[in-house]
Amino acid sequence: MRAIGIILAGGNNHRMGELTKLRAIAAMPIAGSYRSIDFALSNMTHSHIQKVGVITQYNAKSITQHLSSSKWWDFGRKQGGLFVFTPSITANSNFWARGTADAIYQNLSFLKNSHEPYVVIVSGDGIYKMNYNRILEYHIEKKADITVVCKDMPSDVEAERYGVLSMNEESRITNFEEKPIEAWSHTVSCGIYVIRRRQLIELIEKCAEEDRHDFVSDILIRYRNQKRIYGYRIKDYWRNIASKEDYFQANMDFLKKDVRDYFFHQYPDVYSKVDDLPPAKYNVGSEVRTSLISSGCIINGAVHDSVLFKKVFVGNNSYIKNSIILNDVYIGDNSHIENCIVESHGTIRANSYYKGENGIQVIVEKSDRFVL
């Protein structure tokens, strides 16, 4: 194989609010059955990248738990496999990773001990399908030093929340700015890069020498005129999660037929850890409309325009509308939940009323649960 993979899964964003209190963004549950990192991992395995390092830091436990076995993504191999890195104190360093470049620097031996000529670096919070070999071919064809995957966002999307870039006619990146005050382009970076392994080692070591730590600002932006940095424009579905609203919308996207068909029913499949839960059960009195229901759910009430993750219990005469219910939530009888995200393992007592009035309300409800 020609490339190894690095998945950057250590980040948090304060705009996620209480949703990332106990988990990293890369471990956010998506579309009923998945976590955000599953998309990057599945892309890696479908691109025949057999050796992948996952760099964690913020709430690392949420990632390591999900990756407790690598076999679900077909990484249980003698050659290569899945390597999960958490920051550790060593003879040379007692720092947390101070940025993405620093995180790679602290695990530089992973790069140095590989023999594959290229590295695919991706962030763990993107929801997309991609054959990274396409980018690699493009990278070689352009004789690029670094290739950055980018996408033109629709004009109603606030591009200033992303890394914004512009390219010349032969797709070489001429300007790149991370989260500009005002977006001067609607082409944004998807946080997916291809680079030659030796080139990456050299750049990362130089960064470390100069006490610089961030891959985007200290490598991509700083070297944009010295190195041949190219953009690879994609048209397919791509979305990342940076805020509570992004997260809500990313899940609601799966209620659209084209998005579902693309991710659920078209080759290649997205892999995830298998939970072996029984089929969902609909009892008398259930009324489900335009919703995604996951395995292990038991439904006695009404669910409209919502996404229910695994093992959700909906009580008699309850009504759930335009909401996301994360896994293992118990909702008692006669409850009303509208415009909400209910945090996992929550217990909503009978006769509760929750409605997000201005935007989405996150419910973290840890009442005692009495189950037969």
Partner: protein, 424 residues
């Protein structure tokens, strides 16, 4: 050195002919059950949940589905460095090559497999029952009684006892006698076809009886051990146990899963049933749909209405279609404006639009009245049922059909339309 205290031998080679077209292309243990499972998932899950990590699966009849499902045993954590699951088909030998001719003959032909694990005990299971059982507790019982053979047995109503192999035990549970389907049963303890043998006892019996044609546990091995004066014990089991050997019992056992709190509860945490699920995404329930008293597997899409039914994974149910009292297995698609009443639809079936299944009066089936009964409509796997067809009760369809194949666009009750032996 390799040493396993107890290994399991799972008999999965039988056709299960009373399941009709459901077992045309697969062995009975591979038949789907309960939305996302296959029948063999129950004994396999029981094994790993009981700490039995070495399982030989004996296959013979139509093994492809079974082999593909079991793979290297990953879903059950039976992909082990030493032990794990092994598929054991019949094989050619230097002399006396033969198929598996009976339950015990199959085990006899795999003595070397068992010996390689150097076991103290061998657990014999059959791959066609739905139940949860802790074989470790049964093994404890076996050891406490210093038994040579322990037979799992469950109490059945006295009037039904004549349908079973009955064991007669004293108050210490030591077996004193056997009766095979007795006219006037002296006990109501029915053998479940689950045995623990002390390895040397089993080995000796198999060697001694090796020339017996169609060597069978119930008919030959157990009576042999009994006559030899070995200590045989009955281990009483009182949980849910269902033989899904006929279409009607198969349909009934599936329907029991949709009760509010089913007797056989798949939602219990401490005894999970594992299965090979290649379909992961959640199911989508569209606007204008209605679902009550049903279970539905992963990745299915429901536009229509589903009542009292068990729906598998990756199934599509079209708009304005009504499904009642039916079983629809993985990856089957039902078109729009259909009415499906009391049907068993196997995997990968495609049903057109405006199809009505289960109409009219019950008439006994013309070819196999004892198989296709109770008013069920049975559709074999990979069938294509044309739009506009109306199908009566106690009928069976298997194959690729066009509407011109049916006079008056209907198949009346009791009819059989099965195409092709081997699928091309």
């Amino acid at each position: 050195m390799i040493k396993k205290e107890m290994i399991a031998m799972l008999l999965a080679g039988g056709q299960g002919s009373r399941l009709g077209v459901l077992t045309t292309y697969m062995a009975k243990p591979a038949v789907p059950f309960g939305g996302k499972y296959r029948i063999i998932d129950f004994p396999l899950s029981n094994c790993i949940n009981s700490g039995v990590d070495t399982v030989g699966v004996l296959t013979q009849y139509q093994p492809l589905k079974l082999n593909a499902h079991i793979g290297i045993g990953t879903p059950w954590d039976l992909d082990r460095y030493i032990g794990g699951v092994s598929i054991l088909p019949p094989f050619e030998k230097n002399v006396n090559s033969e198929w598996y001719t009976g339950t015990a003959n199959a085990i006899y032909q795999n003595i070397e497999y068992m010996e390689s694990y150097n076991p103290d005990y061998v657990l014999i299971l059959s791959g066609d029952h739905i139940y949860k059982m802790d074989y470790e507790v049964m093994l404890d019982f076996h050891k406490q009684n210093d038994a040579a053979v322990t037979i799992a047995a469950m109490p059945v109503p006295m009037e039904e006892a004549k349908r079973f192999g009955i064991v007669i035990a004293n108050s210490e549970r030591k077996i004193t006698d056997f009766e095979e389907k007795p006219e006037h049963p002296r006990s109501n303890l029915a053998s479940m076809g689950i045995y623990i043998f002390s390895w040397q006892v089993l080995r000796e019996a198999l060697m001694a009886l090796s020339d017996q044609p169609s060597l069978d546990f119930g008919k030959h091995v157990i009576p042999y051990c009994h006559e030899k004066g070995e200590r045989l014990f009955a281990y009483e089991y009182n949980g849910y146990w269902k033989d899904v050997g006929t279409l009607h019992s198969y349909w009934e056992a599936n329907m029991e899963l949709i009760d509010i709190i089913p007797e056989f509860n798949l939602y219990e945490e401490y005894w999970r049933i594992f299965t090979s699920g290649e379909i992961l995404p959640p199911q989508f329930i569209a606007d204008n749909s209605a679902i009550e008293k049903s279970i539905i597997g992963e990745g299915s899409t429901v536009y229509g209405k589903v009542y009292n039914s068990v729906i598998g994974c990756g199934v599509v149910i079209g708009e304005n279609t009504i499904v009642r009292d039916s079983i629809i297995m993985n990856q089957s698609e039902i078109g729009t404006d259909c009415v499906i009443d009391k049907a068993i639809i196997a995997e990968n079936v495609s049903i057109g639009d405006r199809v009505h299944l289960g109409v009219g009066e019950e008439v006994p089936n013309e070819t196999d009245p004892s198989i296709y009964d109770c008013g069920l409509v049975t559709i074999g796997e990979h069938s294509i049922i044309p739009s506009g067809l109306s199908v009566g009760k106690n009928s069976v369809l298997s194959g690729v059909f066009q509407i011109g194949d049916f006079e008056g666009e209907q198949l009346s009750s009791g009819r059989t339309m099965v195409r092709g032996g081997d699928r091309k």
